[in-house]
């Protein structure tokens, strides 16, 4: 057994080292406290009118909307981004010392949930009138801002368009075993389950979910982004996503890297669901007027134009505004007639999903 001797390195570094470490420790402590104080101080807002928006929506688009709003009204907007589900929990926890004035979401269930809890103020009637009433809260607590639809994404080298199911029930057909990609935990999937339940009832929905589970072969995808990516790369033959994921993927990767296509369910099929993104003023907000103004801006012509020209690929809900993107025009979509109120807060869908062992 041999050992290497690494001697001769015993320099008396002590004095210098100590000084260094003193200085370092002091500098660290100082910079920490100074940094925290400045940051803490800057959190206290200025005297100009300002509101805080909690946004679960596409960040770049929200940012463009806020910039345009600030320019137009002079109202300062502070914005936080997070999952809208987490925001929902937060807003309920904040009740006694509210932070948020406006809640802007990608889906209707969080808004419906807060509405049930009595956390939302009524949206001004003039604002609600901007959007077709089918896309607003039935109680007038939130307004629909934009929308998207559920579609099938498929890889033509693995499955041809004619082999795809045209109805949502077809997803459970055993012939798709090992070919189907689903994200049962994704907020966009629950509306489909709710819709199937509305049309066919609980028992049929449950056996349908069991069929889907078996077809997915124990592989749950975390989100629609992953499904889009995996189908595009040929790791899965087809899956269910919202249309805008495919368009966003195409914008990010470039058309030459797109090896997938999208297909629609048959008109009015329960799987052909329109998901509505909406906004609400919180009842606890101390800046009701400014908050109402912001929500009104989202559905104004100007706000809708910002959404139409953004790369979020959502459909503005204003009849007069159309998107730049080369996608099926909103007017030509033929979704199922389920309403936002019927979609509710998704509790039934979640119960069914967990009963089927998918959640």
């Amino acid at each position: 057994m041999t050992t290497a001797r690494a001697s001769g390195a015993q320099q008396p570094l002590l004095g210098r080292l100590r000084l260094n470490r003193h200085t370092m420790a002091a500098a660290l402590a100082l910079s920490c406290s100074v940094g925290l104080l400045t940051l803490g101080g800057s959190a206290a807002g200025a005297a100009t009118p300002s509101i805080t928006v909690y946004s679960g929506q596409h960040e770049q688009t929200t940012q463009s909307l806020i910039t345009a709003f600030e320019k137009k009204t002079g109202i300062n907007v502070a914005v936080r981004y997070n999952d809208e589900d987490t925001f929902t929990d937060e807003i309920l926890a904040e009740k006694s010392h509210p932070v948020a004035d406006v809640f802007y979401t990608e889906n209707s269930p969080p808004l419906e949930h807060l509405q049930e809890k009595g956390a939302l103020a009524k949206v001004n009637a003039s604002t609600l009138a901007k959007t077709p009433s089918a896309y607003n809260s039935a109680k007038g607590d939130w307004v629909g801002v934009s929308a998207r639809v559920s579609v099938l994404i498929y890889n033509p080298s693995l499955i041809s368009k004619s082999q795809l199911p045209t109805t949502v029930l077809g997803l459970a057909d055993p012939k798709y075993k090992g070919k189907l990609a689903i994200a049962p935990g994704e907020t966009d999937f629950q509306p489909i389950v709710t819709s199937v339940d509305r049309t066919y009832g609980k028992a049929a929905t449950l056996s349908w979910l069991e069929g889907i589970k078996s077809n997915a072969g124990g592989q749950d995808y975390p989100d629609n982004e992953t499904i889009a990516d995996e189908v595009n790369r040929g790791a899965a033959a087809f899956g269910v996503v919202n249309q805008y994921y495919w368009y966003r993927m195409r914008a990010e990767l470039g058309a030459s890297n797109i090896h997938s296509k999208i297909a629609y369910f048959a008109p009015s099929d329960p799987g052909y669901v329109l998901d509505v993104s909406g906004a609400a003023v919180l009842k606890s907000s101390k800046n009701q007027a400014a908050a109402q103004e912001f929500v009104a801006f989202l559905v104004s012509k100007q706000g809708q134009e910002v959404i139409a020209h953004s790369n979020s690929f959502e459909y503005p809900l204003d009849d007069g505004v159309t998107t730049d993107a080369a996608e099926t025009p909103f007017a030509e979509l033929q979704p199922n007639s389920i309403t936002v109120a019927q979609l509710g807060d998704g509790a039934t869908a979640i119960a069914l999903l967990s009963q089927a062992g998918l959640l």
Partner: protein, 531 residues
């Protein structure tokens, strides 16, 4: 300090020392108790929230087909990943600290950095490399490669501080290389190895992001579903309590395994420069193995991030925003590292120096916090601030730093423990008996002894903070972006090209403390010899 003073002083110095020892212990106990209470805030929150849901609801949540599946998934993952991390972490630490491995300083950094790669980057780069990396084995692979540094760091610190003379004696007495490694090296580092494994298990219990991407379900993924999709905070809290119970079982297991062994060494002053084991003809093979490990754990995610950056469509980079995000990340990380280490110091000293069931339980209880998801901790702080603090500090930097310090406290504690365990109390007593004041003893004797452990503690916390996301999103001051939140924003929108630089910067920032730590360790023997 002179020998003469020691000769004159003993009778006068010895009696007061005892009394002082007791008061110091009581003071330590009270400070530690305060720390423990702060750490139990999330648990209190869970209990309060879970009350809101009836026993029947909890029973129906737990009593469903999925639960057994989740339980089995959680347990089989924890067992295998922990075993693999123990082997990888201890093996690599031994190679870096005790052999003449070429390029040790570089390895010391490269081996630690994987801890600071966001879960998403690791999991996504693996699953985009091969679709085979999913489910159980995918989770085993990805988790092992990203959290083995939790074992490596404390073990390296402990080996650096341990007495190599024992190994030499074992050699001298004719023990084989393997036997020496097992009996002496592993023996010396046992507290650190078990501490690291404890961290691995607890981190696994609370892990969410990676499993979500790999399509692997555990208790925590289910808790997130209840929290976020079902908006059912009560049910989620009830399920989190199951997680806490699992954490308790793990803690009890670790206590049993650790026993009451101590590895104090009295002759700290007498330590001579480490004689490193010569790897000889094994050098090539060892280097290849380490290279493979680093390529898998670090090279692959970094490569993926660079690929996304290059292949992504949009290259619009807001220079100011990325710098400010990096600054905030570094600032929060450094503050949290300092706060957590300061909090861990009294608890660690109390647990090691002063025996007693109560003190041990107090120390143990602080580990539980690691088994709670970041979401729970952030919501708990928000709850207490709203309910009892009038919204004080909510969504400000101090509360965010506090949340980090709470979340990653156990990481700091393991670092502190490992070194306090090796610093003999006798040495301090000697110094005190030689007429040194208490603070002087703390500064001149205790500090150098526990120094490496404190540095390891700071770094572990810092590295973890860099990638923390769920609590950050809830508590970060409005308008402030960190590298993790900005990365998340882009990634949410499939803008991988724009997300990639943020991931790379996170990795780069993590490399700094890892490097400093490595350098710090390297100087240690020289300093110890000089003092």
């Amino acid at each position: 300090m002179t020998l003469a003073a020691a000769e004159v002083a003993p009778p006068r110095k010895f009696r007061p020392r005892r009394r002082r020892g007791r008061t110091r212990s009581t003071g330590l106990f009270l400070v530690s108790l305060l720390v423990a209470l702060i750490l139990l805030l999330p648990l209190a929150f869970l209990l309060v929230e879970a009350q809101g849901v009836g026993v029947q609801t909890v029973a129906s949540l737990i009593n469903r087909p999925l639960t057994l599946h989740l339980f089995w998934n959680t347990v089989r993952l924890a067992v295998v990943v922990t075993a693999l991390c123990a082997v990888l972490g201890t093996g690599t630490a031994w190679l870096v600290e005790r052999t003449d491995l070429p390029g040790r300083r570089v390895w010391a950094v490269l081996l630690v950095v994987p801890l600071a790669i966001p879960d998403f980057v690791v999991s996504f780069s693996w699953s985009s490399l091969s679709t085979a990396v999913t489910g159980y084995w995918g989770a085993v692979l990805v988790m092992t490669l990203s959290i083995y540094p939790l074992v490596y760091l404390p073990v390296a610190a402990s080996l650096r501080n341990a007495d190599p003379a024992q190994e030499e004696v074992a050699h001298g007495l004719g023990a084989g290389r393997l036997r020496t490694f097992w009996r002496i090296t592993v023996g010396q580092a046992r507290v650190a190895i078990l501490g690291g494994c404890l961290l691995v298990v607890l981190v696994l219990l609370a892990e969410y992001g990676a499993f979500e991407i790999l399509g692997y379900q555990t208790f925590t993924t289910e808790i997130f579903t209840e929290f976020s999709q079902a908006f059912n905070v009560a049910a989620a809290s009830a399920l989190s309590l199951v997680l806490v119970a699992l954490g308790l079982v793990v803690l009890a297991g670790e206590s049993l395994a650790r026993g009451r062994g101590r590895v104090n060494r009295v002759d700290r002053m007498a330590q001579h420069r480490t004689d490193r084991l010569r790897l000889g003809r094994w050098t090539g093979i060892v280097l290849l193995a380490l290279l493979a490990l680093v390529l898998l754990a670090l090279g692959l995610p970094v490569g993926s991030a660079i690929y996304w950056w290059v292949a992504g469509a949009q290259h619009v980079l807001d220079g100011v925003s990325i710098l400010s995000a990096a600054g905030h990340t570094a600032l929060y990380g450094a503050c949290a590292g300092a706060v957590a280490t300061l909090m861990a110091l009294p608890v660690g000293i109390l647990a090691i120096r002063y025996d007693g069931r109560l003190r041990r339980m107090l120390e143990r209880s602080t580990y539980l916090v690691l088994a709670m998801p970041g979401l729970v901790i952030a919501l708990a702080l928000a709850y207490f601030s709203e309910q009892y603090g009038g919204g004080l500090w909510y969504q400000t930097a101090p509360m965010l730093v506090l949340a980090y310090a709470i979340m990653f406290f156990p990481l700091a504690l393991v670092g502190v423990r490992a070194s306090v365990a090796q610093a003999p109390a006798g040495l301090e007593n000697v110094a005190q008996s030689l007429g040194q004041g208490r603070l002087a003893v703390l500064w001149r004797v205790t500090r150098p002894l526990v120094g490496p452990g404190l540095a390891a503690a700071f770094c572990l916390v810092f590295l973890s903070v860099v990638t923390e996301l769920t609590a950050t999103l809830i508590l970060v001051p409005t308008g402030v972006q960190t590298l993790a939140t900005q990365f998340w924003s882009y990634q949410q929108n499939l803008a991988y090209g724009q997300a990639a630089p943020f991931a790379l910067l996170m990795i780069a920032i993590a490399a700094v403390p890892s490097y400093v730590l490595g350098r710090f360790f390297d100087r240690l023997p020289a300093r110890a010899a000089a003092s």
